[in-house]
């Protein structure tokens, strides 16, 4: 009995994957609908382990989906909705073609909306899952909230985005969840922490919307994403508000209610209202406690956790707690040239009170003349009328203080001062081979002195206690080692007999003579302890290692090489940055000196004259 021959690609990877074309055929959808449902359901192509086999022997590169994903889509009720929608669109088209505009209008009015609540639940079975995936959602919603009405974007979508983003910001303020802020050239990066999940999002600078080239940006796709994201953000907002005993939806100003059909002609008015909304605290659910202090968390000694780590975690928690109330009781006044939205949001997040010029924007809570104002945030070189009772600082002070988690000394940030560089708080310091600018190091280490005070920069850079720096140091030492080794080897090459450790027979003639004399005298002399040259040892180790390197297995050789190359590259980058910094500092120092000299000369001239 001959068993039936198995068909090729009927099992294994060939059966596991499906090209997009096959998926379309299976689902009986057009590409447009398929794209939409993929976006909504979060289906994505997969990279097979063996592409050739997965494509059933076909050449080229095809978009491959998991067969089970497609089967999963097959059971999605939305597919039927999409098919119905297709019919509905045909109806509209027909009505238009037959010039029955009344009917067409009716169809358009009753355009069925697709309910995707269940998809949100399906994609994010728990709230934490949703929070974990909120980065892209927030960034896109914040972007869409700045969009005007576009052709491919439903009219109410940007309205909804506006509403939801403001709500989310309120949630962040209420939960005091903001952790990090960064002003980049792309926009404001915020990082908040909810339920142990860090959420990072970008809010673009003002006037971020520019008409895009058609082949560069397809708003239809983005709009489909936003369709899902608004749904998700809405539910997340609801959950966040409820977890904080706040009423959802919050009653914000009229600008966000979707029934205000009138175009917001004045973008400024809209922004002003939005910011004003941010400045108002939200209504609590009746009966909720006003202040809810988190209970002190007990720390249990776990088996594996070493006490140092625990200590660190404890310190971190302490720091965060302090950060949350950093601006508490402080009053800020924002000058009108300062971008208010990020500042209001941030200051309110950390417990500060904010106001602005009552004449220019709505929603001011106190006047400039208020004597209790602690800080006035200005972004102009000088001001006519200044109050003595407050500090005039530049906005960067707020951002830097938050990232430093303390109120930084304001002397570098005073009005008109040249600002110190604004550093990213997102750089992972734990990773090795990371360049840390001297400013940051100074922040971490109070003993650290900036470069320009020291005669030479190289010693200082090595004088640091951080892991990364140690690593760097090692590397720099290694550099030195290699150089030394080379030198040493050259020496050997030049005159090999002059080695004084092993070859005793090739000593200097004088020494020889001495030895002879000693031999002659036959006296017992106290021995000289043999001193091992540490460099010598290192060099030997290095050489031995280099030989051993050649024994790396053939299987790992490429990997090893690439890893080494990566290390080298990073090292070079760090070296380059360091060098540039040194050059820059030297230049600045020179300039300063010249300036001083000039001043002195002038003073001298003035004195003599």
């Amino acid at each position: 009995m001959v068993s039936k021959k198995k068909k090729k690609y009927s099992s294994g990877e060939g059966a596991q994957f499906m090209t997009r074309k096959a998926a379309l055929k299976k689902l009986q959808l057009s590409l447009k609908d398929f794209r939409r449902i993929c976006i909504l359901k979060g289906i994505y192509p997969r990279e097979p382990r063996n592409r050739k086999r997965a494509q059933k022997g076909a050449g080229g590169i095809k978009t491959l989906y998991h067969t089970k994903d497609i089967k999963f889509l097959l059971h999605e009720p939305i597919i039927w909705k999409l098919r119905d929608l297709k019919v509905y669109q045909q109806k509209i088209r027909r009505a238009r073609a037959t010039r029955e505009f009344g009917r067409m209008r009716k169809y358009l009015r009753d355009y069925p909306s697709i309910n995707i609540d269940h998809i949100v639940k399906e994609r994010y079975p728990t709230f934490v899952d949703a929070l974990r995936d909120l980065d892209d959602c927030l960034t896109l919603c914040f972007l869409f909230s700045t969009f005007p009405s576009l052709k491919k974007v439903p009219r109410n979508q940007s309205m909804l985005c506006r509403r939801l983003t403001v709500e989310f910001m309120h949630a962040v303020i209420a939960a005091k969840a903001l952790r990090k802020v960064f002003v980049s050239i792309k926009g404001y990066y915020y990082q908040a922490e909810f339920e142990g999940q860090t959420i990072t999002w970008i809010v673009p600078h003002h006037f971020s919307f520019q008409p895009q080239n058609k082949d560069e940006v397809d708003f239809k796709i983005m709009s489909t994403f936003v369709e899902f994201y608004t749904m998700m953000l809405g539910f997340v907002n609801y959950k966040l508000f409820h977890s904080m005993n706040l009423v959802y939806p919050p009653q914000l100003t009229a600008g966000f209610s979707p029934d205000s059909e009138k175009d917001l002609i004045d973008e400024h008015a809209y922004v002003a209202e939005r910011i004003a909304a941010l400045n108002i605290s939200l209504a609590k659910v009746a009966g909720a406690n006003e202040v809810e202090e988190l209970p002190e968390i007990d720390i249990f000694q776990s088996e594996d956790g070493d006490p140092q780590k625990l200590e660190e975690a404890k310190q971190e928690a302490e720091k965060v707690k302090k950060l949350k109330t950093m601006f508490k009781g402080l009053k800020f006044f924002i000058n009108r040239e300062v971008p208010r939205e990020p500042l209001v949001f941030i200051i309110r997040c950390f417990g500060g009170e904010v106001s602005w010029d009552r004449d220019h924007f709505v929603g001011a809570t106190f006047d400039e003349s208020d004597e209790s104002i602690a800080y006035q945030i200005v972004d102009r070189p000088s001001m006519d009328k200044q109050y003595l009772s407050r500090y005039y600082v530049q906005p960067q002070w707020v951002f830097d203080s938050i990232n430093a988690r303390t109120l930084l000394p304001i002397n570098k940030y005073l009005m008109g001062a040249v600002l110190p560089p604004h550093l990213s708080p997102f750089v992972d310091k734990i990773k090795d081979q990371v360049y840390i600018p001297p400013e940051e190091r100074a922040l971490k280490d109070p003993d650290f002195k900036p470069l320009d005070d020291e005669p030479s920069g190289s010693d200082i850079e090595e004088a640091s206690d951080e892991d990364a720096d140690e690593k760097n140091e090692q590397e720099s030492e290694e550099d030195g080692d290699t150089a030394l080794a080379r030198q040493y080897q050259q020496e050997i090459a030049e005159d090999s007999p002059s080695d004084d450790e092993d070859g005793e027979d090739n000593l200097d003639p004088e020494k020889k003579k001495l030895a002879k004399e000693k031999k002659k005298s036959m006296a017992v002399v106290s021995g000289v302890p043999y001193k091992e040259n540490p460099y010598q040892k290192q060099i030997e180790d290095k050489q031995a290692f280099r030989l051993r390197e050649k024994l790396v297995r053939k299987k790992h050789r490429n990997l090893y090489k690439s890893m080494k190359a990566g290390q080298e590259k990073r090292k070079k980058e760090i070296w380059l940055l360091r060098k540039k910094r040194r050059l820059h500092d030297e230049k600045v120092k020179e300039e300063k000196k010249a300036e001083k000299r000039k001043q002195k000369m002038q003073a001298f001239e003035a004195a003599t004259a």
Partner: protein, 856 residues
């Protein structure tokens, strides 16, 4: 001419012959058509006036026509007498004078004839004629309309019927029988009689269509031939030449039958085919005129056939907004018309109640609700925290791979970055150079410094970047990729430190100078006290190891490729390969003990008995043992073996009696084994194993290792068979060295590799060492210490630890220990040979710069 056309012509010829008078200027088809028109007394459907005529008494029309036609009759008749009798017209012509119908027919014909004649003169014959026709018809229409009113309906019916009849007839032209019978039957009916009348009138009209000479109004014409055959089946006439009889009793000739091909051809060629119908009675083709078609269309649509007829002729505006002086109805409106009806009242109250109760909604309310329903409604999707844990009820994706997050921004992205992140002039240049390939740039954005926050502009590519992220999310294939978190150092094998594996040579201690060319080969004497070296300058030098002093120089005349000291302890003998000669030398005086030298001389002085020195012819042809003359003896040569080709390699057997010599490019005779005691040679191989590189004896077993270009073969000398073949995996083997224990083998190759073979383990290399940057030319084992060295064209001699354990389960441990710097290379070559001191951990290297170096 294509065949079908010839066929056509043939068929048409008889037609022409029938109608001689008609024709000439016209094309064949036209003739047929015209004849058809005439003959078929057709155009049964022809417009309204047919009907009119039919309704009204035919006689009157005839009379009318009679008058007008008179003038033309005379000459036409003459012509027509020539026409064939078969034609219907002809049959009628016989008594045309009496019969108005026939005469009129003649008229028609004549008209047509004339027409054709005139066509030559006139530019637009037909169009004019037609237009005038229509005029004539319309002229006749009104005159008769009054009289025909009553009979209109019946006529219409008749026409309809006719149409219906004709259709099937058209289809069944092949079997005319049933149709004919039907037609005959119909004629009997009164209605059919009317129809026939109509037909008659049609025919009478025909001439009018053609010509305008009958403007006077002689539209009707009664010279229609009626088939009087009666209601008999038409197939009765099948075997006759005629189809029936006309009123006069004359036979109506059968028109020529057409088969399907004819029909088809007609269909193709005749533009009028679509409106040609066949009269079942006479079998004539009738072409429907434009008016006929119009009439048919009107009847079909159920309109009044006459387009001029107005159905609503006298229209009186009885009910208009004008207030009449005398109202039409003299009573006032009823009170009910002013009061709301009770029904309505009930209806309204019902609606009001429904609105009150909320069962019904106003339009405004509905709109509001609609708007509200469109708003997103958010609720507690995830439920309480207790329920949040149960996500199992919901199906999810198979092995979901979450999208990776975007990398967080670095310092360079800051609006006010540290100065080292800003691009300097050089970097800026590169940045600009990569404008076409922006993905190769260091950053996706240009780091820019802004003095203050208010100066920061919106980022241009923000939307684009978000879009790309969206594309990535739904379009980029995802895969789980394992990220290595190991240090690269972990990949390097863990080996004991060289410091723990001492002693081994670490530095150069002595340089032996004296040769004037490349030193090809070196060797220690068994005690390690002396060194022998052979060089390209043609000398063999014996040196003292400890001092580097040259003790003896033996000039051999040609370049020495190989030297080897005998391993036998009691002899002072060394073998040197110089060109084709293998020389056994006694360094003699000053080197070693006198007695040893003397004993060696004694041994070699007398040749063995001749019976021992028996060599077969094959071997004898290759080698020649010679005893040196006195001069040579004085120079130290004790024996010389001349080979047929230059020597490549030499190696002693461990006991010192045998010597294996490898000869260049000698094929099967490449390896020779010389026995010194008997002074004879052997050729161990019959076939060439490959391109020979070198051969060596096993230290204590009767095995011979022969290295060819790719492989090392091991032969058992006792059994005289191949024991095994070691595949080196190298392109070209250069040298081979045997471990003193004999179980391990080191093979060097020109492609920079050294292969360690464990003979116990496998025929593949146990380990391949890539320790050199260039070709490896020499390898050597230390006889006591677990050391081996390799050297070649690169600048390093590598000393390694090669420990072989007695335990069979433990594999050898190979640790590279030290890279010794070799002397400067000369040309391509650097180190040509390496040897370990027999007792000390010293290494001697023969360098290309004419020196020997001792490392300790």
């Amino acid at each position: 001419m294509p065949p079908y056309k010839t066929g056509l012509l043939k068929r048409k010829i008889p037609d022409e012959s029938k109608e001689v008078e008609v024709n000439n200027s016209r094309s064949d088809e036209d003739e047929v058509l015209i004849r058809g028109e005439l003959d078929a007394e057709n155009d049964s459907t022809d417009s309204e006036h047919d009907d009119d005529n039919a309704a009204s008494d035919t006689e009157r029309d005839e009379i009318l026509f009679h008058d007008s036609a008179d003038s033309l009759l005379s000459d036409d008749e003459a012509n027509e007498s020539l026409a064939e009798s078969s034609d219907l017209t002809d049959s009628e012509e016989d008594d045309e004078s009496g019969d108005e119908e026939s005469s009129h027919e003649e008229d028609g014909e004549s008209n047509s004839d004339e027409d054709k004649a005139e066509e030559e003169k006139e530019a637009k014959p037909k169009t004019k004629a037609e237009s005038e026709d229509s005029g004539a018809e319309s002229g006749t229409g009104p005159t008769l309309s009054g009289s025909s009113d009553g009979s209109k309906k019946t006529k219409e019916k008749a026409i309809n019927k006719k149409e219906f009849k004709q259709k099937p007839i058209k289809k069944k032209e092949f079997k005319p029988k049933p149709t004919k019978t039907k037609a005959v039957q119909k004629t009997t009916d009164s209605i059919d009689a009317l129809a026939n009348k109509i037909k008659e009138t049609n025919v009478t009209i025909q001439p009018v269509q053609e010509k305008d000479e009958y403007e006077s109004g002689d539209t009707s014409d009664e010279e229609e031939r009626v088939n009087t055959a009666g209601a008999v089946p038409s197939w009765w006439y099948d075997e006759y030449e005629h189809v029936g009889y006309d009123v006069e009793g004359r036979r109506i000739a059968r028109p020529p039958r057409r088969d399907r091909i004819d029909e088809f051809l007609r269909k193709c060629e005749d533009p009028e085919f679509w409106r040609t119908v066949r009269d079942p009675g006479t079998g004539q083709d009738i072409i429907l005129s434009k008016q006929d078609l119009e009439l048919i269309a009107r009847i079909r649509e159920g309109r009044v056939p006459n387009p001029e007829h107005d159905e609503y002729q006298p229209w009186v505006e009885w009910f208009s907004r004008e207030v009449l002086a005398t109202p039409l109805r003299a009573f006032p409106e009823h009170k009910r018309s002013f009061l709301p009806s009770r029904e309505e009242q009930r209806h309204v109250s019902r609606i009001v109640h429904a609105l009150k109760m909320g069962w019904m909604k106003t339009r405004k309310q509905i709109a509001e609700e609609r708007k509200k329903s469109k708003e997103q409604k958010f609720y507690d999707l995830w439920g309480s925290s207790a329920a949040a844990g149960e996500g199992e009820g919901v199906r999810g994706l198979q092995r979901h791979i979450p999208a990776p997050r975007r990398p967080p921004p670095g310092h360079a992205e800051s609006y006010n970055p540290p100065p080292e992140y800003l691009l300097d002039a050089k970097e800026m240049k590169e940045w600009n150079k990569l404008a076409q390939t922006p993905w190769k740039r260091k950053y996706t954005f240009l780091p820019t410094r802004h003095g203050s926050l208010r100066e920061v502009a919106a980022y241009e590519r923000f939307t684009r970047e978000r879009f790309l992220r969206c594309l990535d999310l739904y379009l980029a294939p995802r895969a789980i990729k394992m990220r290595l978190t190991i240090n690269p150092e972990d990949l390097v094998p863990k080996l004991p430190s060289p410091r723990d594996l001492q002693p081994f040579p670490t530095t150069e201690v002595l340089k032996f100078t004296g040769h004037t060319d490349l030193v090809r080969s070196i060797d220690f004497d068994p005690s390690g006290q002396y060194v022998v070296s052979g060089s390209d300058d043609g000398t063999v030098k014996v040196w003292e190891t400890s001092s580097g002093r040259c003790l003896r120089t033996l000039a051999l005349g040609c370049a020495v490729t190989r030297v080897a000291w005998t391993p036998a302890a009691g002899l002072s003998l060394l073998a040197a390969a110089a060109g084709r000669r293998l020389l056994l030398l006694n360094p003699g005086a000053g080197v070693g003990a006198h007695r040893v030298a003397a004993r060696t001389d004694d041994l070699l002085a007398e040749p063995p008995p001749a019976r021992d020195v028996v060599m077969d012819e094959r071997t004898a042809a290759c080698v020649q043992w010679e005893t040196p003359d006195a001069a040579q003896w004085a120079r130290g040569v004790r024996l010389s073996v001349t080979h047929f080709k230059p020597l490549l390699h030499l190696s002693w057997h461990a006991r010192g009696d045998y010597l294996a010599a490898t000869v260049e490019e000698a094929g099967a005779r490449g390896v020779l084994v010389h026995q010194l005691s008997r002074r004879r040679s052997q050729l161990p191989f019959r076939r060439a194993p490959g391109r020979l590189q070198c051969a060596a004896f096993h230290p204590h077993r009767p095995l011979l290792f022969v290295a060819t270009q790719r492989a090392v073969r091991v032969y058992d000398l006792v059994k005289q068979e191949l024991v095994r073949k070691l595949l080196a995996g190298a392109q070209w083997i250069s040298a081979l060295a045997l471990h003193p224990a004999g179980d391990n083998l080191l093979v060097a190759s020109y492609d920079r590799k050294c292969m360690w073979f464990d003979l116990e383990l496998s025929s593949k290399p146990y380990q391949t060492l890539r320790l050199h940057g260039g070709a490896v030319r020499a390898v050597a084992f230390h006889s006591r210490y677990p050391l081996f060295a390799s050297a070649g064209d690169d600048q390093y001699i590598v000393v390694s630890h090669g420990m072989v354990y007695n335990d069979l389960l433990q594999n050898p441990l190979l640790v590279p220990l030290k890279q010794l710097r070799a002397p400067e290379p000369r040309g391509e070559l650097c180190v040509l040979d390496v040897r370990f001191h027999p007792a000390q951990p010293w290494l001697l290297a023969a360098a290309a710069d004419h020196t020997l170096r001792l490392y300790a």
